[in-house]
């Protein structure tokens, strides 16, 4: 097996031998990665749209067929129970989430499907998904014979990939161009090969994780925990304020009407000793925040250590110097621009 061949299994590999080269492929050229490990739930039934609109934080009521949104699921106390993408696929809604969240979300859904006509089915094994990211994504897709229409973030398009029907999704990575290709598991390997042939660099989960941190995208369970308030996560893309009632809305609205939260999710540039997730950030000897994700990455100016985490707003201005353990941290805006070509 060549190092660029994707394995015939649903668990994506950690790397293809060189995480840094894979990360460079993603940020400066075009990287592809295996998203078969994610979970997909299909929701059918007449009440699916009204029901889902009452359960997640984003607007499903006005979500046109062929479009998707990012959203949180909250409990009645406003605590974040999970995050997901919801796509309106016409005859059904498709929920895409991390597989680690799948069973918990299903239980949550089952609890709240009572008199409504909504059926949930796990269709994870019916889809194989390839992620595509990098400034040369469009060129690589075109070189692989895929005609790419102009799409909005999280918009879907039917495309033909080497004779097979597939769905192309425009990604919403704030730092670079990204796509997903959804197709049946059968043609997965041949599409992978043809993308590699067209110039794509295969990336494992380690490089994709570095890309996530450099892009400033929080991960549920790590950067977004139950105790974090929805507005503290700085994910305005997950919230909608005119969509009507949903679980936990009272808390989200109360926070909005009072003006602000005390903490916010942001980036940090690190120097000196690398902290671990959970490390406390300090200013003038007082705890003012915490680290949730760390990474060490190659940049145009050499190796850089960066982190994601939460900081109190009054000291959260980019450029503000802080202490973390024996090292230093400087507040930085997200995404970390230095890792991306513009």
């Amino acid at each position: 097996m060549s190092p660029t061949t994707v394995q015939e299994r649903a668990v994506p590999v950690a790397d293809f031998g060189d995480v840094r080269a894979e990360f460079a492929g993603l940020t400066s050229a075009c990287g592809i990665y295996d998203l078969r490990g994610r979970a997909r739930l299909k929701l059918t039934g007449e009440d699916r749209i009204r029901w889902m609109n009452g359960v997640v934080t984003n607007n499903i009521r006005d979500l046109a067929p062929g479009h998707g949104v990012y959203a949180f699921v909250l409990n009645p106390q406003g605590q974040i129970q999970g995050d997901l993408f919801v796509y309106n696929c016409g005859d059904f809604l498709l929920v895409d989430t991390e597989s680690s969240q799948s069973s918990r979300l299903r239980e949550f859904f089952d609890h709240y499907i009572i008199m409504d006509d909504v059926e949930v089915a796990d269709v994870s094994s019916e889809w194989a998904v390839i992620g595509v990211a990098g400034p040369k994504s469009l060129a690589v897709l075109q070189a692989a014979g895929i005609s790419v229409p102009a799409l909005a973030p999280r918009q879907l398009a039917r495309v033909n990939v080497s004779g097979a029907e597939a769905t192309l999704v425009q990604g919403d990575n704030p730092a670079l161009s990204s796509y997903e290709i959804w197709l049946a598991p059968g043609p997965f390997a041949s599409l992978w090969e043809s993308l590699v042939h067209a110039g794509a660099i295969p990336a494992g989960t380690s490089a994709v994780e570095l890309l996530r941190i450099a892009s400033g995208v929080p991960r549920y369970g790590q950067d977004i925990r139950e105790r974090d308030l929805p507005q503290e996560t700085e994910q305005a893309r997950a919230l909608h304020f005119q969509k009507g009632c949903y679980i936990g809305q009272e808390i989200v609205e109360r926070i909005r009407s009072r003006g602000n939260v005390h903490r916010k999710f942001t980036g940090f540039l690190l120097q000196g000793e690398m902290p671990v997730a959970g490390a406390k950030l300090q200013a003038e000897g007082k705890d003012v925040g915490e680290i949730t994700s760390v990474a060490s990455l190659p940049s145009g100016e050499g190796e850089k250590a960066i982190a994601l985490g939460y900081i109190r707003r009054e000291v959260g201005t980019p450029g503000k110097g802080l202490h973390v353990g024996k090292g230093q941290a400087t507040v930085a805006a997200l995404p970390f621009a230095e890792f991306f070509q513009h």
Partner: protein
């Protein structure tokens, strides 16, 4: 007050659901207005998931019961409750309130741990 369960006589303790005479009178009037036949149709009571407190009451007319519904008969008025909603609704009373401030159906639910100000939303 009328208390009836599926297979118990009218005087049985409130294991099912209860509908007050005042509520029954309003249901009869509304059913006639909506042309719902009391023989085939009935009032559907249920619980919807979602909304501010997570769960909310739903009340509407249905032209016929669904296969797995529990059917409660209060004289000439039939009430349909789907099996999953019944878990939340058993023991509840449906009343009709008419005050200067508001008028409408009121749910008294011993299973609700927290009720919302709007009166139709609750936590299980």
């Amino acid at each position: 007050m009328t208390a009836v369960t599926e297979d118990a006589p009218k005087t049985a303790p409130a294991k099912g659901i209860q509908v007050t005479e005042k509520a029954l009178a309003r249901i009869r009037t509304a059913m006639a207005k909506e042309n719902i036949s009391p023989q085939q149709g009935g009032l559907r009571l249920g619980v919807q998931g979602g909304g501010c407190s997570g769960l909310s009451y739903n009340i509407r007319f249905d032209t016929q019961p669904r296969e797995r519904d529990r059917i409660f008969q209060f004289d000439d008025v039939r009430v349909f409750v789907d099996p999953k909603s019944f878990i939340y609704l058993h023991g509840m009373t449906l009343d009709y309130q008419e005050t200067l401030m508001q008028q409408g159906f009121v749910f008294t639910n011993p299973n609700a741990s927290k009720s919302c100000g709007c009166g139709t939303s609750f936590s299980g």
